[in-house]
Amino acid sequence: MTSLINVSNLTKQYGEKAAVDNVNLSVKAGQILGLVGPNGAGKTTCLQALLGLTDYQGEVDILGYNPKTQRTAMLNDVAYIADVAVLPKWMKVSQALEYMAGVHPNFNQSKAEEFLAKTNISQKSQIKQLSKGMIVQVHLALILAIDAKVLILDEPTLGLDILTRRQFYSHLLEDFYTQEKCIIVTTHQIEEIEHILTDVAFIQSGSIVLCEDTEHIKERFKLVAVNQESIEQAKELKPIFSNSLMGLTTMLFDGVEQESLSSLGNITSPTLADIFVGVMTKEAC
């Protein structure tokens, strides 16, 4: 399975501080990678490096292109959405389609028109007349019609209502995704896309603290509702996170076998959000 995106030893310093410190990532065809982290963790800087928007040290290779030196050529095969609602307000939908057709070699105008035909957006409307949800649909139509192999999404659903968010991901999965393509998404709303991701990477203070595919992650982490009497024993096994509420202690374990845990209490699978909180808190200590 070929790697479409390869990042090695990516580092970006702002003065003394490293916004991104020795990050290694690789995304293969068919993967949907979520890059999750708190504000200031370095997600944006990583993405900027991938898109050739900033200087960096280390190597970044996307489909064989160097994003810094071959940016324009790379954008023929790489699509990205920085913010779903930034289409120019003065433009008409028909003009946007004409512009894309004239400027992007991989743009399939009829595909975009087909997509828009399913909405109730008229080609004669100006972007400023459309609601935010409709603008997202137009932007998505334009992106879907580019047969990009790599799609990079930077907090794509920020500020959108739930209906629009759901529609966004539905369309992405139905109309864009194939086994030959890959997607990188950065987001805060991990619960929403937890099941959509095939892989996840947690980033904190410029470093990747976890990078795993979502199946294995469920096997690796276990959430245990620990019995009162077993608490000390449980602590021996070094949980990465522990929470006590109303007499109930819940602990999160990383890589500890099922057998060792079964005597301590009820074992369940944590959600990705649970794992994220646990790992982040641990790193912060």
Partner: protein, 120 residues
């Protein structure tokens, strides 16, 4: 619509089970095609790999078969097969514990069948 998935079982297994139930109940008929991976991924907001795994399992269990270029189709006779499989699972795994509970509570067959609406 997104489903509420059980946290403790892998989602692909739950999906597999769901297809089996649908076949059993007759919602998916024999000879009918399963919806495409993309379609299901979009509807349920799951990644396509999860769906593929469930579909692969259905293929491995010979519940569905692949028709070139057309997708996955439910094999004939599946409804009956599902019925007998689920019956067996129920009788061997679930029934014994229900039976012992019935005995514990000293309920007769009459009680069980006529008191259906009473104790809600």
């Amino acid at each position: 619509m997104s489903e509420q998935w059980n946290k403790d079982t892998p989602i692909y297994l739950q999906l597999y089970q769901q297809v089996v139930s649908r076949i059993l109940d007759g919602y998916i008929k024999e000879g009918e095609a399963l919806p495409s991976v993309r379609n299901v991924a979009a509807q349920y907001q799951l990644n396509p790999i999860t769906i593929s795994k469930a579909y692969q399992m259905l293929q491995d269990e010979e519940i569905v078969e692949k028709q070139r270029g057309k997708g996955l189709f439910v094999k004939p006779g599946m409804q009956d097969l599902m019925l007998s499989r689920e019956r067996e699972t129920f009788l061997t795994k679930q029934w014994p514990s229900i039976l012992s509970q019935i005995n514990r509570l000293k309920l007769s067959a009459n009680d069980l069948l006529t008191n259906q609406g009473e104790n809600s």
